[in-house]
Amino acid sequence: MEMNRIDGKDRGDVALFTLSTCIWCKKTKALLQEMAVSYRFVDVDLLESTQREKALEELKRFNPLCSFPSLVVNNSTCIVGFDEKKIKEALKGE
């Protein structure tokens, strides 16, 4: 599945699943931007159906409810919702 890439500081593999209409998703993107962290993201509502299914299948592994935003760090930790504290903690680096 294609994801948009945003360049920044390397804090591991950071994958963000979002909706283009969701304000909490926008806030999460803005926070990552502000932290200048490198990440990839996909607006799932803008995908055509096959791609959307693929994205949801992948997201389901980390968040069975498939709610947004979901931030998956290093294919293991998943932070659901705009949780500023948790996001900063997970991506603070060394």
């Binding site: 304000i23 709610s67 947004f68």
Partner: protein, 167 residues
């Protein structure tokens, strides 16, 4: 996004939602920039799907499957009671509307797809002794005993499809 939503369109829908909220005892998020952004997303979804589904949830595009997440959603009232805000925080509790505290993150209450209840059908069998069936508004809980639910809920103004058979 397919087209730019104008500030006037946002003003219009914002005013409508605000009036409806005020007349039925609900409160909108006092952060106007945030709320206008949500209203814009509701317009986007209305154009995309034909109904203003929750901006913070993924709609399927199939009206019957998305009925529970058309704004105001079926989960607004329990979320307001527990978290002080609905899932997207368009609606907030009275104390948050007054600026006494902030809405925290609201966990998703909507069941996973396989556990969702269908729209108007009901698992409750009608009581034989009732002269009328009782219908319940899934958004606000309003009950009425009549052959069919009302076209528009007199309390929260959602459409007939949002009612379920209660008794």
């Amino acid at each position: 996004m397919s087209r730019e939503i104008t500030p006037e369109e946002i003003d219009d829908l914002y005013a409508t939602i605000r009036e409806q909220a005020a007349s039925s005892g609900y409160f909108l998020n006092p952060d106007e920039v945030f709320t206008r952004d949500l209203v814009r997303s509701l317009i986007v979804n209305r154009e995309r799907y034909g109904y203003p589904s929750c901006p913070c949830r993924l709609a399927s595009g199939i009206a019957t499957e998305d009925a529970d997440i058309v704004c105001p959603c079926d989960y607004r009232d329990p979320d307001l009671a527990e978290a002080g805000a609905c899932f997207c925080a368009l609606y907030v509790s009275e104390s948050i509307a007054k600026g006494e505290g902030k809405a925290g993150p609201v966990p998703e209450r909507r069941p996973a797809p396989e556990e969702r209840r269908p729209g108007r059908s009901s698992t409750v069998s009608p009581g034989a002794s009732l002269s009328y069936p009782v219908w319940r508004c899934r958004v606000c809980g309003y009950l009425c005993a009549r052959d069919e639910p009302p076209e528009i809920c007199p309390i929260c103004k959602v459409k007939k499809e949002r009612f379920e058979r209660f008794m």
